[in-house]
Amino acid sequence: MGVALTRAAQWTAAGFGTGTLELTPLNEAILNDIIKFVETFSVKYSQEAEFVFKEPLEWKTTLEPSEFESGYIVSGTTVQSEENSKDGQPLLLLSGNDIKVSSFGQLSRLLHLAKDKKLKETQACLEANRDPVVKILGAGYGTVEGEDLSTIRFLDKMKKDDDHENIKMKISLLLQQLDMLLLNNSLKHISLEIRLNPSVVKNDVDLLKHFSGKGEQTVLESIDYTSDFEFANGCRAPPWRQMHGEICYLIVKPHDCDSICLTCSTAGVFVNGGIENEAHEIDYERRSEIYKDLVTFLREKSAKFSENMSKQKLSFFGGKKKEKKKLKSITEKEEIPNLPKASLVLQKSPSEKRRMVRKLEPSLKWTSSIIPQQKKESAKESQDEKSILSTTDKPKSVSPSTSAGKTQSSSRRKSSIKIEDLISESSSESEEDEEQPDHRQEGQTDLPSEYWQIQKLVKYLKGGNQTATVIALCSMRDFNLTQETCQLAIRDVGGLEVLINLLDTDDIKCKIGSLKILKEISHNSQIRRTIVDLGGLPIMVKILDSPDKNLKCLAAETIANVANFRRARRTVRQHGGIKKLVELLDYAQSKTEPMHRHCLYETKDVEVARCGALALWSCSKSHANKEAIRKAGGIPLLARLLKSSHENMLIPVVGTLQECASEEHYRAAIKAERIIENLVKNLSSENEVLQEHCAMAIYQCAEDEETRDLVRQHGGLKPLAALLNNTDNKERLAAVTGAIWKCAICKENVTKFREYKAIETLVGLLTDQPEEVLVNVVGALGECCQEQENRVIIRRCGGIQPLVNLLVGTNQALLVNVTKAVGACATEPENMMIIDRLDGVRLLWSLLKNPHPDVKASAAWALCPCIENAKDAGEMVRSFVGGLELVVNLLKSENKEVLASVCAAITNIAKDQENLAVITDHGVVPLLSKLANTNNDKLRQHLAEAISRCCMWGRNRIAFGEHKAVAPLVRYLRSKDTNVHRATAQALYQLSEDANNCITMHENGAVKLLLDMVGSPDEVLQEAAAGCISNIRRLALATEKAKYS
């Protein structure tokens, strides 16, 4: 009891003399245990119950004398028990509030009397008697910290063989039993309720901070400490508050309620009185219940928090887990020294209890000390085992439904891989989840006969020597390894482990045989994942070093298959695979060494390089790998291989280049290594796949201006144009049209294309093609349309109708290109007639409602030439119901490109007086004025043009002045762009018709800037600037005249 009371029970801090027991759940539990012990004492141990305490236990009671019943002598405020000790003293004496009890018998009777005050009485008793054992048995039995002499003491006492002493010893033993019980029980409590410490709080706050901020998805709006200063012990509370166990104060703003000021103390988290404004002091008073930690508290307080928490649970706890690992080691270090003299059980507890609580397992299992992550892994393993077992134990048949299900899952896998590639490398968590469906195999189907045969072969692989292994491997290859049943059978009987193990042996034949199988079955995505899980990739990377070329080839080919998903690619890179693969590329160059000439399993050097390129192609789908290939010096090697004439070699080489060309560095290197020339050469190859990849590579590289010229100089445009005529292979067609699109950005290339009649062909491709092709075709036409001659060609070949028809599509990229092309066509009045007849303007107009800003902007740009060139443009525009309002409202967009394009459209719309009146009514003036403060030159130019147009109506000039658009406009004159100057000068000229605007301009120093512009070679600018100055000057003269007259 002594140890439990001093150690486990929670006494209020820093008390002198009689401390008080806090009413915490732990203390309550201890008290209840003591009560139970005392109450049953007299029944269980009647002899010991009569034992008279060395000193009576004294405390202040709340019991009234009236509550004592038979067996007591009640007289006024004093109560005496009828039972007396040997020397005549009553065993229970109550006088006033003070009560003295000197036997267990009396104690238990008292507790019976106290009924519902039991707890209070026990508490008072223990508070008054901090070490009851001493009082009961004498000083010799006191709780001595650190040493336990009780057994020795018992031995001494036994010798005396005294009845009285025997009883004393028995009581002492009983009390020690109770002590142990109390300690154990309190431990359970402690473990259920973690005491917070600074590092835990800090981690929680850091994590929550990570997930806080603006937006719907975050868990909190903000979470901050009240103080930036952190004491060495990790607390932020002032020292005098640390005495009370307080760690720090937080201000938390959840999404759905006001900000809360919190205290984090060792006992838990609660709301305090908040910051008092005048003093910046925190009102430390507790205003809420105590919650066990921050997250629990916030869950309780904010519904939004718990909702978003559950959404972010995965990532949150994923992060938390790692943190916890660290944290655990910290707490272990920290807490053990705090309890140096505590019993062994207690010493163990701090780390244990935290683990248990974190895992949210209420039971007290000392053995379950595996850390969560390990546990997860082991669980996963056992899951794996289970799936293997279930498949081996229960016979299955392959019903069509399961195989269908499998293909479905594998197709889903494919799409998921694509997504994986898009997201950044760092989040491995999601990927692990993707892998889960693998293990969902229902054990209801019968197994095919292949399954048993494969199982037998795997058995021979395991238990055979090299000869038997080779036979088994060769025999296994006779199965249709491209069939999923066989692939999965190999995996399910544990064949993959054996095959991978074989790779680690010395025997070349076994390695070759094993790789030949792995190469085949690694076409299956599940097998790929298992190979990576089993650590197959590092071994294969190591095999790349082998002197045997055949082995190298097979290893590289297998890597090429396996590295089809991100984690695998990363593994290859991390084990130095990229460098080794790049080295393989060098093989084609090096002369064959005579030593290998006689090699039995001869393969050509070219084949080695090909396999290397194949593996690099797979690997190059990851960004970091592209970088690694470049660093390993892969580009010159690829460039050299590109000169080869082996088609099989060229495809992976060009494939790798095409993958990598998405990187800026690569495009520069590709240019430098004169790769374009060879890409162009291979466009004329016979092989469609090769053509496709070459075109694709050109498509990627032709983003660069110089490259576009290079393609032309190397005569690449003609083969590209020629390839347009073959429309059967859609992938190739998409790549070719893409290359043409990018090349057509260059004017000279367009001329060439016209020469090759490519434009006519492109128009022919506007119908019945998949979207990937259409996007590129329309993009190419859009570029071609920049020239008048081509616009005529398109009209003549009937290209306008299909283009306008495409305006109703949904593909964003396609719409952007189509609008651009239609817009370009519309610059030709004759084309415009056709577009108008086809109702193309209405279609364009409705695209302004498209959710994608790119489409909106592109549509608005396209509208400009339409309005400009349409007959009765004003009438046409008015005919669109709600059209003008829609345009004006787009001025509220946040996208600069959209704004610029809409300004341009407004400029054109405003050319019609009636329309100008309508848009003025829709509030175009304030919206335009609001945009005036911008640094974007493109927007400035079109905005100034729009303002200058809109000045032409009513009192718009004055309104612009009132909406403070004039001063920013003057600043536009300081821009470096002449187009901005011209548009601004025109706008200012229009605005200067109003006297107030003139004053604003003058105040903002417009005159000097305009004077410079008068000297510009641009006549329009000259004229506008001069006009504006003359208006300002005239006003000045008029005022002077007024002054003197």
């Binding site: 021979y460 000869t467 080779v470 088994a472 045989g513």
Partner: protein
């Protein structure tokens, strides 16, 4: 010994060079030298005609890393063309010619002869069983320890017996090996593995100028 007999050596070399297509005359000289070194090591008797069975097996074991007794015996027989119980210098060179440098055809022929234990032109089921009997780890749990071997023989026949007559003719064997080169040594290693092969050549053919 050979230093004394320089003239004889030269003559021998010339005569062998004519018949051996895979070795250069320098290599032949080296091989002759190594032959006499082996011979000197193993036999005390002067002027013995060649390396005897035990000595040859010893060479196979230490130099080429072979372990299977039966196969080594067969290799000895393969080398010992005239069946006199000794591998003479000529037999040594012509044997190594295939052993180290043989074309696929030569090697197939050589291996097939090794595996055709009774020399009847077929590798029968029994012969296979005999050659494979030590190839599987004996599992004590299995009732018939030979069952695995029998099964392995069946598997092999299924894989290699193209005319389905229950035994492997040379044509069967050749077809299978051309399909899958790994099957060349299907019934046990009878050619040096590439590592000891390279080591042997490096050691024997090393340029005297490098010394």
């Amino acid at each position: 010994m050979y230093t004394v007999d320089r003239k004889r050596l030269q003559k021998l070399k010339d005569s062998i060079s004519k018949s051996s297509k895979h070795f250069t005359s320098y290599e032949i000289e080296c091989l002759i030298k190594i032959f006499y070194t082996f011979l000197g090591e193993t036999t005390e008797k002067q002027g013995s005609i060649g390396i005897d069975r035990n000595a040859f097996r010893n060479i196979l074991h230490t130099t080429f890393g072979m372990t299977d007794d039966m196969i080594m015996d067969r290799v000895f027989r393969g080398f010992d063309r005239d069946n006199d119980g000794f591998v003479s210098v000529t037999e040594w060179i012509s044997g190594l010619c295939i052993f180290l440098r043989g074309s696929l055809e030569e090697k197939m022929k050589y291996c097939f002869e090794i595996y055709d234990l009774n020399g009847d032109g077929f590798i029968s089921r029994e012969e296979m069983f005999h050659m494979l009997k030590n190839s599987l780890l004996k599992q004590p749990s299995e009732e018939d320890p030979d069952e695995g071997i029998k099964d392995l023989v069946d598997i092999t026949l299924k894989k290699m017996d193209h005319d389905h007559d229950g035994k492997l003719s040379f044509v069967d064997y050749e077809t299978s090996v051309r399909e899958e080169a790994l099957l060349l040594e299907a019934f046990g290693p009878c050619l040096p593995d590439s590592k000891s092969h390279l080591e042997f050549e490096a050691q024997v053919f090393k340029d005297p100028h490098d010394l």
